[in-house]
């Protein structure tokens, strides 16, 4: 992909730029403990938590590992683990 003059990029193109590699800690969701309350989806600053077939799934292409979801989870179903690269 070519860079652009002045680092100007077309709007709505952020899905093409995968930013998950910034992460040094990774949230891991234990679906057996998850009460599907949706707090993690609410607080995620990157919209990286999705509901797929009624199950909460973390999108590691965009999750930057901030840990807000793990901090807020009332069921303590999310654990932050060291990212291995």
């Amino acid at each position: 992909m070519k860079i652009t003059v002045g680092a100007v990029v077309q709007g709505k193109s952020s899905l093409a730029y995968k930013t998950g590699n910034w992460r040094d800690q990774k949230p891991v969701l234990d679906i057996d403990r998850c009460k599907t309350c949706g707090q993690c989806e609410e607080v995620c600053p990157d919209n990286a938590v999705h509901v797929i077939d009624e199950v909460y799934v973390i999108d590691y292409d965009f999750c930057k590992g901030c840990g807000l979801c793990a901090y807020e989870c009332p069921a303590q179903a999310i654990e932050m683990v060291k990212e291995e690269k």
């Binding site: 860079i3 003059v5 002045g6 680092a7 100007v8 990029v9 077309q10 709007g11 709505k12 193109s13 952020s14 930013t19």
Partner: protein, 396 residues
């Protein structure tokens, strides 16, 4: 047809800027730049100038306003000096990266502390690595012509970088000179309306300057250097295109003055070059083979043109009003980096002169030439830089 008036240097700049039809002007007062934006404010108030005139609360905002103005697709301008230019620094680097082609007049003034309002080049020189194109002028006429050329240079699709016209405070901004003005129609033909490839548009939203990973940042930085290198050729073409209209030729990236057969060549920027030209004429009339290279465009640095002008000399003496603390003068450094080591290269000496407005007159030039000749006879002790007229007895 063009017309001639005797005006203050600041007024000449204001007239040049007005003729370029700027759409956004930001202003924050600082001596010795103030008369320029005052005159533009007057033009705006009198209905002679159709521009958004934004009074801001700091130079950081002054730069931010023209950065935003330029991003929105408006031809934008401001002027500043000294501490004001330093306060703009962060915004200038960012504007270079965003490739925003506004024009700034950098009215040269010393930097505190101790406070001084007098001229030297320390302020603009400390911005030399930013990617802002820098053009130094010798006279009010050259300031007028260069401002008109600057918008065209900045907005060239292959360049798209801010341009700073560097102009000596007081010596140029506050003295009255005969200046020849262009007709508005001539300026309009030379400088078409600003049409940037990208501009902020709510109907077509784009992201500006978003995060760049290490896999692309070097390429972004090199693309600025590429624009600079292309600029070396394009700036000369634009200067010569303007010369054809005005009939005035200030030179290309440099002006070589009586360098043919010169044994000693002085190198200088700004109004100091005028004094040196007179000194060169006098020394030449006494049979001394001395010449001058005036650097007009300092960034991009025209080392190829300088080399062509100095390669026959035995010694090159830079006279500059700036200093890179802990090393030597910036222009001396540039020249030594680009000249030393080439086969047959002349000896390059760096003379620091005129800091804080200390007078540089013909006697100063003759002193420097005498020192350069001493160096040729190996009678001058080697030094990174020679501080001219320094009084060591008052230094604690």
């Amino acid at each position: 047809m063009s017309y001639v008036k005797v005006v203050e240097g600041s007024e000449a700049v204001a007239f040049a800027v007005k003729a370029c039809r700027p759409q956004v002007i930001s202003a924050y007062p600082i001596s010795p730049q103030t008369h320029i934006v005052e005159r533009l404010a007057q033009m705006r108030a009198d209905g002679e100038l159709d521009a958004e005139y934004v009074r801001v609360e700091s130079e950081f905002s002054a730069a931010s306003v023209i950065s935003g103005g330029s991003a929105a697709g408006s031809r934008s301008y401001t002027a500043s000096s000294s501490q004001g230019l330093l306060l703009m620094t962060e915004v200038l680097y960012a504007s270079v990266g965003l490739r925003l082609p506004f024009v700034i007049t950098g009215v040269n003034r010393a930097i505190s502390a101790p406070i001084s309002i007098q001229v030297d080049h320390q302020d603009t020189m400390s911005l030399r690595d930013s990617g802002v194109i820098q053009i130094y002028v010798e006279s009010s006429q050259e300031a007028y012509d260069t401002h008109i050329a600057s918008f065209k240079i900045a907005e060239d699709p292959g360049i798209l970088l801010p341009v700073m016209v560097c102009m000596d405070g007081w010596i140029l901004t506050h003295s009255y000179e005969r200046v020849s003005f262009m007709e508005q129609a001539e300026v309009d033909r030379f400088l078409p309306p600003f049409k940037p490839p990208n501009f902020l548009d709510e109907k077509n939203p784009k992201t500006w300057g978003s995060y760049a990973e290490d896999n692309v940042l070097m390429e972004f930085k090199y693309s600025i250097q590429k624009a600079m290198l292309y600029g070396k050729r394009r700036i000369k073409e634009i200067f010569s295109e303007l010369s054809k209209i005005t009939g005035r030729d200030h030179g290309g990236l440099i002006e070589a003055y009586r360098t043919e057969g010169a044994e000693v060549i002085l190198v200088a920027l700004g109004s100091m070059a005028g004094t040196i030209k007179d000194a060169v004429d006098r020394l030449r009339s006494e049979g001394k083979p001395v010449g001058l290279v005036k650097i007009r465009c300092y960034r991009p640095f025209p080392h190829e043109d300088i080399w062509e002008a100095i390669k026959g000399a035995r010694v090159v003496a830079v006279m500059e009003a700036d200093f890179s603390m802990g090393s030597e003068g910036a222009v001396g450094m540039d020249l030594k980096a680009k000249v030393c080591g080439r086969p047959g290269a002349p000896l390059v000496l760096d003379f620091i002169t005129g800091l804080g407005g200390r007078e540089v007159n013909q006697q100063t030039v003759e002193e420097v030439v005498a020192e350069a000749q001493k160096a040729l006879n190996k009678e001058l002790p080697p030094a990174e830089s020679y501080w001219v007229g320094l009084d060591p007895s008052i230094i604690p």
